[in-house]
Amino acid sequence: MSFPSINFRARSVLALGAALLVWCGAGVAQPVPAAPPATMSAAPAPAAARPAVRAPRPQLGVGAAVAPDGTLWLVALNAQGRLYLQTAPMPAGKGTTPWSAPRLLDTADDVISADGENRPKLLFGPRGTVLIAYTQVLSKPFTGHVRMLRSVDAGKTFAPPFTVHADRQVITHRFESVAFDRQGVLHTVWIDKRDQELAPRVGQKSTYRGAAIYRNTSTDGGATFGPDIKVADHSCECCRIALGLGADGVMRAMWRHVFAPNVRDHAFAVLRGDTTAPIVRATYDEWRVDACPHHGPGLAAAQEGFHAVWFGIRPQGGENVAAVRYARLEPDGTPRADTVRQIPDERAEHADVAAHGQRVAVVWRSTDGKLSTLKAWLSEDGGQTFREQVLGQTEGHNDFPRLVQNGLRMVVVWRNAVEVKVYEITF
């Protein structure tokens, strides 16, 4: 049989077979049709894919505060996602911090957020009150409840966790911040999406810009809470809220806002009683973007007004310059334009600020590939001039630095995947 004589049949079959192979192969290479997430199963993974064995990213976010007796306290999640408490003497000089053994807290199996901007907080109040606030992660994406553990015996025991806000929808109530004012009123402020839920939709998208800032107060140290009060419409959805107690003893809040149409600058509000005050614009980066910086501000009281630090992208000299910036704010939050300056580190992230008298400390994380450096910017003239200091370094996963203050003394608490380090600020 000559080769060409069978060729029409054979070639036809071969052609069809080859075409079928290509066609089927293409089908195999495509993802499977959509199915509800709850019923999804992983398809046979390519060689590079190893979905089943990956360890989750460690949740290293901590809350720290100084107790009335001068001891440093810390709350954080362990590797199993359980909330624990540790204490240590305030460090003096350099050296390893002698943390106590971790004490697990009963959080009623809440799934707790402790990653970056949304972390547990620790707060000491009047008459032996100790409060621990955290966001309980709920089943739907972007949803959570603000929860609290309360002790009235200086932290010896804690009552079971409770939800702080009146609204109980499965929506965003996250990124809480808590603080006592000078009258002993507890302020809880959080990001809330109840207004977004109610707004008209175009397709699946809400017409509401961003989220909202809500708050409530407690005049009995967290035993009971007043109604949920809206502070402002149109906040950014995923940045921490900074609280600062003014020289007048009244609480202020600063947060990333979405000014119309999509300017992600910062707003400032005075939190007085249960009244709603108009908000003030505190930064003017004019950063127009539909994006999520996940990078909230820091706020500390000055002798008059406030010291503020924030991240933003600002048009400068024909370029968009991303930076952490510092400025002084008036008591109502209005920025003093001549005080705005850029922190001298283009890799600066998640700065925190503390102040006492004329002393101001700004700390931040600067990551260059694998190595993260903890830096400080210190002023002894109320923020007019600063000098830079390197406090420490670490490799691999690490939390943002948290400044903790006890009067004149300031320390930075910085957790990495192995330990929690404490650095004393020396001016």
């Binding site: 290509v22 066609w23 049709p33 999804m40 064995v53 990213r57 994406p141 539909d290 910086p293 996940h294």
Partner: protein, 174 residues
Amino acid sequence: MKSRFKPVQLLGRRTVMVASAAMVLSAWATPLMAQSGRKNRVTLNSVLRFDETTWARLVEKGPRPAAYIFTTTYCPSCPDAFEKVMAFVMQARRPVELVVVLMDVQGKAALEHASHYVGATRLYTFEGFESAIRQSVDPKWPNVTPYIVLLGRDGGIQRSIGVPEEAALKRWLP
């Protein structure tokens, strides 16, 4: 002996060739078709790892043109940005690799978020220290999402925080 190839003979040479060509064309065009109408868009159900070495490899050897949408689970702006890039791809009617990279969740947990990115052709998750991986993609990328990289057919790279400007999208898929 009866021919086992009778159906083929009945169809005729031209028909077979046309059918074969149609199948090959269909296979080639499937990525485009998967994105050209909402009915056909699919949700991914497998995850690839993205570490400090992945980006260089994708730029050098990965498919082109491609769009990489770096996102986080807490980023409510990210699904919108994905939709806008997707809409441009659909309008351009071009086969494009449309990749979602989730930065803050690993492995199967990422699949809970895949429904926000229906129509993506691949889903990666960061594996390792986020900042280090981020800097392997772009040392000047502040931790803002969505961060979108458009990789052109000629290897040209355009980066943006948020949705790329129309001009950038047109340069990417002229």
